[in-house]
């Protein structure tokens, strides 16, 4: 997030898109709902009639996979009506002309054709957003999980810059991170192209710094593979071993039938986890680790706040901390990775991670600090880009609408979009151990609109089979007013009826994120 969670309540207009906030970030959603209660304007742009629409002044319902079009449409109106923030554009950005040239053709009526959002709604929303004193954008995987996910995000940044809603309280472009420490995993260099704090692996100066600090030589200057690429390669037999720490790709990855084949092709699979997950069951070696309540350490939340994790209970059996297991493997292979505690590791992180350099465990004992925090007396940075952007000037990107990789046709006439429910978390390895949560959400369901259900002549609660070009699953039909005609929603949590047997593994070329939010399916009553 460019801004903080608390900042959301300061906004006059909050645009929420591609985020089912009340189910996936329930506590964050309270900030949005409270803002609405206090008379602030909430605008939801989402193909499903999610719970948050009940709190919204406006709900725009785009066809799945048409985000660039509606965002360009808003910008078209803003520029046509001269509502843009000229001072911000002139002083803090570049590339406006090129962007404006592309946006010109996205008139409200053209956008209505692509997105299905009525032209007058585009116009009204554009005015609301542009004329607000402070407007924030909150988005999540409904924006990113597309083959054009990167361009979707850039489009939102365009929109915010156009109105000068960045770099101040109550504004910002705010991705809501889904997992407790997904921000931290990225910050720590758990990515194929960067070390900690996004320092490039192919930068010779950076390599030298790490070789010196780690007392090693020969670090690879070649950016590595993203998980989705590793799996594609494994399927072709070009990838030999995987060491998986605390992840369950055999439920969470797209096109599972292919992913399973890829995993079988591996020569050696090590899985380190707290449970014998679907993925762990395929491993050659399983290493048992601590869960969060047994560990000391830090997590970095969606607002870049580094916070303490504290040991509350003793771990069971012969389990060990994740970092200790990894260090032991490393040392067995001849390395020299010895630490007494997680705190020692954090001290090493500080030395190599400029944005964390000023953060110590003592400083975050009672209250977390937002990175970047370069020095020990720096208060942290709750709001990014207040004076300038990371690259200096904010760059407008000229982006055209691109349709999803797979659209409905005669054989597969419905769009499938996947997501989550409030009572479960990711692949359910934790939440499905709770009887209460299981009682509230016992099994997979296929959410369909009343019209589509009538057309198919299937009743609520009946078992259906859902097919895509890649696989099939069987689950209960759930008729819901949340659903749009022509679009089916299935939560991906449930291994028994894994929605990811159906999904498309086509990737965004930059972020390598799969297109979970759109693929073509067909549906019929189970035999």
């Amino acid at each position: 997030m460019t801004n903080t969670i608390a900042d959301i309540e300061l906004s006059d207009v909050i645009l929420v898109t591609g985020s089912n906030t009340t189910e996936n970030h329930p506590v964050l959603s309270t900030f949005i709902k409270r803002a609405a209660l206090k008379g602030k304007t909430v605008i939801v742009v989402d193909p499903r009639k999610i719970k948050l629409t009940e709190h919204a002044q406006k709900w725009l319902r785009p066809n799945p996979g048409t985000d660039i079009a509606w965002i360009n449409g808003l910008m078209n109106v803003i520029i046509e009506e001269n509502l843009q923030n000229d001072q911000f554009i002139k002083g803090r950005t570049e590339g406006f002309e090129e962007m404006a040239a592309v946006v010109k053709k996205y008139t409200p009526s053209y956008v209505e054709e692509i997105t299905g959002i009525p032209a007058n709604e585009i116009i009204e929303t554009a005015r609301l957003f542009a004329t607000a004193d402070k407007a924030s954008i909150c988005y999540c995987m409904g924006i990113t999980q597309h083959t054009c996910g990167t361009d979707n995000v850039k489009s939102l940044a365009n929109l915010s810059m156009l109105c000068g809603h960045l770099g101040k309280p109550g504004g910002g472009v705010n991705p809501l991170r889904g997992q407790n420490n997904v921000q931290g995993a990225c910050d720590m260099g758990g990515l194929p192209n960067v070390f900690t704090a996004y320092q490039k692996v192919d930068d010779p100066t950076v390599i030298k710094r790490y070789e010196t600090a780690w007392d090693v030589s020969g670090l690879s200057p070649k950016p590595g593979l993203a998980v989705t690429e590793m799996i594609h390669k494994a399927e072709k037999g070009e990838f030999k071993s995987l060491y998986i720490i605390g992840e369950n790709p055999l439920v969470s990855d797209p096109d599972l039938n292919h992913a399973e084949k890829a995993f079988k092709n591996l020569e050696f699979l090590v899985v380190q986890d707290i449970f014998l997950t679907e993925t762990a069951q395929m491993a050659d070696v399983v290493l048992p680790s601590f869960c969060f309540a047994e560990k000391d350490g830090t997590f970095s939340n969606t607002e870049r706040r580094v916070q303490r994790v504290r040991k509350a209970v003793e771990a069971p059996g012969f389990t060990r901390e994740d970092w200790r297991i990894t260090c032991d493997i490393a040392n067995k292979m001849g390395a020299n990775m010895h630490y007494n505690s997680a705190k020692d590791i954090f001290e090493e992180i500080r030395k190599l991670t400029p944005s964390y350099a000023g953060i110590t465990w003592d400083r975050i004992e009672t209250k977390g600090i937002h990175w970047p925090c370069p020095t020990i007396d720096h208060p942290g940075t709750p709001i990014l880009h207040t004076a300038q952007f990371t690259r200096g000037k904010g760059l407008f990107h000229a982006i055209d609408h691109q349709p999803p990789a797979e659209l409905p046709d005669a054989d597969y006439p419905y769009i499938l979009t996947t997501g989550r429910v409030i009572y479960h978390y990711h692949t359910g390895s934790m939440t499905m151990k709770s009887d209460g949560l299981n009682k509230m959400s016992p099994e997979c369901f296929v959410e369909i609109s009343p019209n589509d259900a009538a057309k198919l002549n299937i009743d609520d609660g009946e078992m259906v089979e859902v097919f895509s070009r890649r696989g099939k699953i069987k689950a209960k039909l759930a008729i819901s007013h949340k659903a749009v005609d022509g679009t089916i929603f299935i939560p991906f949590h449930f291994a028994q009826a894994a929605a990811n047997r159906l999904t498309n593994s086509k990737l965004d070329p930059v972020a390598k994120i799969p297109e979970f939010k759109v693929c073509a399916i067909t549906i019929k009553k189970a035999a």
Binding site: V27, N181, G189, F275, A312, I422, Y425, D435, G436, L437
Partner: protein, 378 residues
């Protein structure tokens, strides 16, 4: 601060900001004023009147939670009239329902004896599940309220136990309305409200249905703010938990990326309850159903407890020594046979920064490849 904004509480002068209530000024200056219905961040309702204070010149005692401070105002926080009023309110509350926390039956000097007896026997059937952790009980003790002479009221409504998380015991509800404020103004789930009138008043979900059939999403905010034993986590109730034997540990929630701060109540090496940390950003006490009630996985019997090595398609328990030997030798073999770039590591958005840092250090400096990633995209 201008000279205009001065209020006198208990003979001491305090500056205040225009718009601050008497209660806020008092709290800021460590002056005790009890509250039951007051909930920070929500509209004051003045429903319970336990916070009344004596304001010089006012006709009646005034509820300090809803009464703005004004210049020259002279306040007594615990005058004889205030104490009398509070005793009266507490007495009526205790008499209104099933508050068998010992104050009812005993004179003050007998109370300690009963306290010790209950601790020894720890019997829930006799006692309220929040005994020892109840704001009404604390106040009854502070003001030494005896309700021996008052009749015991039967509950007008049966206990609701049909959802997996929350026990609603209407016999202990004092109708302070904090739960309603929490649901409507903090979580904004609008699941519960006041229903019926007068003596039949009740906190209802929807059109007086069970919570599970209402808009409730079991965030548990109402349970956390309930000052008495009307709303209790089902597990606490069933496990007969006593706070005396437990410790609290502040940590960060391990579900979504919001990073809620929470206090784990731990007893006998088990998490027995989780509450949102009220004094901490970003959540100020709020949690969701997963964060508050989804902790069973920690002590699950399905946890892995020992390394496993697969032999002929079946897992066999192994020692760490055997596991490390096998993993290290296989990694080295594959690296020399196919090259480092045929190997990869998936680190995790679930583990700590320290765990992640070590995973990438291992991948880059030991395996010597940049094939490291995690499920940020999934």
């Amino acid at each position: 601060m201008t000279k205009e904004n001065i209020i006198t509480i208990d003979n001491k002068e305090f500056a205040f900001e225009p718009g601050e209530t008497i209660l806020e000024v008092a709290r800021r200056n460590d002056i005790f004023i009890p509250t039951l219905c007051h909930l920070k961040g929500t509209t004051p309702t003045g429903a319970c009147r336990i916070c009344v204070v004596d304001v010089k010149g006012a006709r009646d005692l005034v509820p300090s939670c809803a009464y703005p401070a004004s210049n020259g105002m002279i306040v007594k926080s615990e005058s004889p009239a205030v104490i009398k009023a509070r005793k009266n309110i507490i007495q009526l509350m205790l008499a209104s329902g099933n508050h068998n926390c010992a104050i009812r039956q005993f004179e003050p000097d007998e109370w300690t004896q009963f306290h010790l007896k209950v601790l020894k026997e720890d019997n829930y059937n006799e006692l309220c599940p929040v005994w020892g952790d109840c704001q009404l009980q604390d106040l009854a003790y502070r003001y030494q309220v005896i309700t021996k002479a008052l009749p015991v009221s039967d509950s007008k409504y049966p206990m609701e136990t049909v959802n997996p998380f929350i026990i609603r015991d209407f016999s202990r509800c004092i109708l302070c309305g904090r739960c309603v404020q929490a649901c409507r103004e903090i979580q904004v789930n609008n699941a519960i409200d006041f229903g019926y009138r007068g003596a039949k008043a009740k906190i209802v979900a929807g059109a007086d249905v069970a919570l599970k059939d209402s808009d409730c999403v079991f965030c548990g905010e109402c349970v956390q703010v309930c000052p008495v034993g009307a709303l209790v986590p089902k597990e606490t109730f069933e496990n007969k938990k006593r706070f005396e034997k437990s410790k609290k540990v502040r940590t960060t929630c391990s579900y979504c990326g919001v990073g809620c701060q929470m206090d784990l109540t731990v007893q006998d090496n088990k998490i027995v309850e989780i509450n949102g940390a009220e004094d901490a950003e970003p959540n100020h006490g709020s949690l969701c159903v997963k964060g508050r009630y989804g902790y069973n996985f920690v002590a699950s019997p399905e946890r892995l407890t020992t390394p496993l090595i697969k032999k002929d398609g079946k897992f066999q328990e192994a020692t760490w020594g055997q596991a490390f030997e096998l993993v290290a030798s296989k990694f080295m073999e594959i690296k020399s046979k196919y090259g480092a770039d045929s190997m990869g590591v998936l680190t995790s958005a679930r583990v700590t920064n320290e765990d992640n840092y070590i995973a990438q250090k291992f991948t880059r400096s030991v395996l010597k490849t940049n094939n490291i990633d995690h499920c940020a995209r999934l």
